[in-house]
Amino acid sequence: MRALQQEHVVLRVIAKMLVPMILLFALYVQFHGDYGPGGGFQAGVIFASGIILYALVFGLSAARQVLPPPVVRRLAPLGVLLYAGVGVFSLLSDRAFLDYSAIDPEHPSHGQHLGILLVELGVGITVASVMLMLFYSFAGRGRR
């Protein structure tokens, strides 16, 4: 096992450079989705892909130390709750469910903008953590 790993020096160096780039790009996609192509769904998958690359090159247990499965399991419902929470917030301020104008009644357009940002953040968190959950479940079930 040890000898095999030492063969892949190039792979490890490149992956070490690439993983932060992928994670950074995922954040860019998440928050630039209003202006160009992108949004929560894409950003979540890209973020998960970055962690998956890390797991593939440096080992699954290393990736599990970066983002432990219990944390991932708690993050997945957090995204859904954030999304639904925005809706409940607008319900509580006497508006329709998911009417983002409630966030900033003075400037409805600004409220819409903020609401979309929050909702996309929720989508991104859920998608990223579910994709990671899938990868951990599949990859962790290897031969013992």
Binding site: F41, V127, V130, M131, L134, F138, R141
Partner: protein
């Protein structure tokens, strides 16, 4: 004439290939691949419906631009992510079937199941 409906011809062809793969192959992973091919043909159909000739992507591009219909894009965008999640559920089922029957061929698993129920 054919060019006017070319996209839809391809959609139908891909749908046929996907359907054939799902039905003819006994391998469960191959069935899932056929299912995802079928899915892609539906995606392609929706996106083709939204395209306007000479239109451009639905991101604001100044005055006088003609935009393709953004609604199919929204539907398909979410469908792709949901599609990969449901494919993962299918693959998880395949893994469990393999653990139970030590095969991912449909007819072999069915045969084992029948043998066991015959003994019981």
């Amino acid at each position: 004439m054919i060019l006017a409906h070319y996209n839809y011809w391809v959609v139908v062809l891909l749908m046929m290939i996907g359907l054939y793969t799902v039905m003819a192959h006994g391998n469960l992973v191959k069935k899932l691949l056929g299912l995802s091919m079928f899915q892609t043909s539906v995606f392609l159909m929706f996106i083709s419906l939204g395209k306007i000739e000479g239109g451009t992507a639905p991101i604001l591009a100044g005055e006088g631009a003609v935009y393709s219909n953004p609604l199919p894009h929204v539907l398909i965008l979410t469908a792709i992510v949901v599609g990969v999640a449901t494919t993962a559920v299918g693959l998880a089922l395949v893994v469990r079937i393999h653990e139970a029957y030590h095969t991912i061929e449909e007819h072999e698993a069915v045969k084992q199941e029948q043998r066991e129920s015959g003994q019981a």
